[in-house]
């Protein structure tokens, strides 16, 4: 069961990632990336990382990708016609080669298992356990994160709003 799920999710993730890289239209690429995020969230669930799985969807698929989508729509780039066909072939070949070779490696390597799962306690990956670490051991990074976010807001506002102020 778990194996099946793993294969579905990982194959889905790899496939949509490939599609993302090869796609010409940025919007479709973004949609594919969202799919990748989704499958990754599935993998996180398999790894008992419940909170991270939910956050993966909320933060990556729901927030960051929305930002991407907005920028794509905002800039509304008209695709260059010349670039597309030739480049697409190269990218497709490149990624297929990588994926193929790595899959062979996977088939070989997965037989060897250097690390077996230790007994996982039931609280693993729950909100509480993550939180407990975050708000005690990682207190400083946590507080610094707020500065990071503040910097991001200020920086982005300055960058994005500058021209408006100039023109007004």
């Amino acid at each position: 069961m778990q194996l099946l799920m793993f294969y579905i999710f990982s194959l889905g993730a790899v496939l949509s990632a490939t599609l993302m890289v090869t796609n010409i239209k940025p919007v479709t690429a973004a949609m594919n990336l969202i799919m990748t995020m989704f499958f990754l969230a599935g993998l996180y669930v398999l790894l008992d990382a419940h909170l991270i799985a939910a956050l993966q969807i909320i933060v990556y698929a729901g927030a960051i990708m929305v930002l991407f989508l907005f920028v794509i729509l905002l800039l509304n780039i008209h695709e260059k016609e010349g670039e597309t066909a030739r480049r697409k072939v190269i990218i497709q070949f490149g990624s297929i080669a990588i994926v193929g070779s790595l899959f062979i490696a996977m088939a070989k390597l997965s037989a060897i298992d250097p690390l077996m799962i230790k007994a996982v306690d039931p609280a693993f990956g729950t909100t509480k356990s993550v939180g407990k670490l975050l708000y005690t051991d990682y207190l400083l990074p946590f507080e610094i994160a707020s500065f990071l976010l503040l910097a991001a807001i200020v920086g982005a506002v300055i960058l994005a709003k500058r021209r408006i102020d100039d023109s007004e």
């Binding site: 956050l55 729901g62 927030a63 930002l67 509480k128 708000y135 994160a145």
Partner: protein, 117 residues
């Protein structure tokens, strides 16, 4: 992990329902295509510009605030769950965090980025 299996089943069922609906409506309905029908509707007039144009950067700004505050909320969830255990320490800790972000909010507010105009 087991508790996610029903979610998966539900997701599959829901997708099947949606896809089934889309397929059904594509197959069943009558089809009549001609140039004028395929034009986008614009109150009975011919469209003047294509909507594929750049829209205001304001929308981007809102999406950006959304991302930042979403992350903030994400930090708050584990904290809120743990709040009763963390006690005063956690409260102070989070208030520092929130204050710093509130500064950001105040900054964008004062900067007028939250104004629609």
């Amino acid at each position: 992990m087991n508790e996610y299996i029903p979610v998966l089943i539900m997701l599959l069922l829901a997708s099947a329902t949606s896809i089934g609906m889309i397929v059904a409506t594509t197959l069943i309905g009558p089809k009549k295509k001609f140039a004028e029908k395929m034009q986008p509707f614009e109150c009975g007039e011919n469209p003047i510009v294509s909507p594929k144009l750049r829209f205001s950067v304001k929308f981007y700004l809102f999406a950006l605030f959304f991302v930042i505050f979403d992350i903030e909320a994400v930090f708050l969830y584990p904290w809120a769950v743990l709040f009763k255990e963390l006690g005063m320490f956690g409260f102070v800790e989070m208030m520092v965090f929130l204050t710093i972000l509130a500064i950001g909010l105040i900054y964008v507010w004062k900067r007028g980025a939250l104004e629609w105009e």
